[in-house]
């Protein structure tokens, strides 16, 4: 469903990604772990072209997306993204946050968009917050709303860029639970996270990225219990 081929990304002289290749199948949950600054987030941001790859190809359902002819706005509709800092629209209520893109981009009738939004709010446990502004929400609620907003476009794949890193510890679980539910429903997901418990439990596959390269790849069991690469071992020894 998603294929990344020899992806390179430079920021000026800094080489952040040094040839990353990966593949995600439909319904698969891929978790990307690694030390900060290793390039994990950049991989995600390249997959919906928030960053333009310096070299390499990215295919979504067979279509090369980093191509001059590709309709990037169309492609992004199929790829939902959840950010570390939520990036909710502060001047809109919860429900308007969700309906904006379906109404303006997909030209869905406002009423239908609201029905979809209400269902999504229920799904993430925020049905009583439909008219609240983001400032009135806790961090965990904000992130759940951001997930609902992304889901409203009915994407084929969801990208999560450290979705719980900006949250207070007691709010991490409510967000992870929503993500787990999503995974159980068969959503294709790529998740960059520091939540090793989540990775173990939910991931179909885990990749460990260090210094712009995939150093280790396998099932959670393989990667966590029997890491082969010394850098992976060192990383786990620091955080576990």
């Amino acid at each position: 469903m998603i294929r990344v081929d020899n992806l390179h990304k430079n920021f000026g002289n800094l080489e952040v990604l040094k040839g990353v290749s990966l593949e995600v199948k439909k319904g698969e949950v891929l978790v990307i772990i690694g030390p900060s600054g290793s390039g994990k987030s950049t991989i995600l941001r390249c997959i919906n072209l928030l960053e333009e790859p310096t070299k390499g190809d990215i295919y979504i359902e067979g279509e090369k997306i980093n191509d001059k002819k590709a309709d990037i706005n169309k492609i992004r509709q199929k790829v939902g993204m959840v950010f570390q800092h939520f990036n909710l629209f502060p001047n809109m209520t919860a429900i308007d946050n969700i309906t904006l893109a379906p109404v303006k981009v997909k030209k869905i009738d406002k009423k239908d968009a609201e029905d979809i939004a209400i269902n999504l709010l229920k799904k993430v446990g925020l049905e009583d917050k439909r008219d609240s502004y983001p400032v009135k929400l806790s961090g965990g609620q904000k992130q759940r709303l951001a997930i609902a907003r992304a889901l409203a476009m009915q994407p084929d794949v969801m990208l999560f860029d450290e979705p719980t890193s900006a949250l207070d510890p007691e709010m991490v679980k409510e967000v992870l639970n929503v993500m787990k539910e999503l995974a159980n429903e068969g959503m294709t997901m790529i998740v960059v996270t520091h939540e090793m418990g989540f990775a173990r439990e939910v991931a179909d596959r885990v990749i460990f990225v260090d210094d712009g390269m995939i150093v280790e790849e396998g099932t959670p069991k393989e990667v966590f219990e029997n890491p082969k690469n010394p850098r992976t071992k060192e990383f786990f020894s620091k955080i576990l």
Partner: protein
Amino acid sequence: MNLDFSSMPQYTQLFINGIIMTIELTLISVAIGAVLGLIVALMKMSSVKVISFIGSAYVEIIRGTPLLVQILIIYNGLPQFGIKFPGFVVGIIALSMNSAGYVAEIIRSGIQAVDPGQMEASRSLGMSHSMAMRYVIIPQAIKNILPALGNEFVVMLKESSIVSVIGFADLTRQAEIISSVTYRAFEPLIIIAAIYFIMTLVFSRLLSKFERRLRSGDTR
């Protein structure tokens, strides 16, 4: 020193005409300046280098040269090439163009003060750049822009007095007219100084009230 305001009340109508003219000129100039300024700001932020250069050059030139010189170029300089406008129009053109340079910077910084994450989130939902600008960025930027635009109005209210040098019948010009009839310079000038002061004071107060309301309605 002999101060004599007794001859002044008979010229009340002239002062009032001047006030109306000054406010009119300022309102029109800031309004046109805001529209021009928005265009210049968008040019300056354009990814096309030539367009962004023109935008930047405009702002630098307008801000780097005296308003008086700009007015004189339009009023005395352009007629040399057969381009001649009446004084009122020159006043509006000069002040609008000048205002646009400052407003462009107000708008640009207002837009750039919006969290870049807002653009990313909008784009990630499939919105085009212009859609994101229109539905997400600009509505948020307006809250940053409006108060500064109000300040620009207050500044322009005072700066506009400079058009009196080309005979524009604004408040300052009226004082000159009155002093040429009464042979008294100090009295009319001190009166218009007081009027300018009161006008800027009133508008500033109104502005800060408006600004407070913007903030209290701020849902961030």
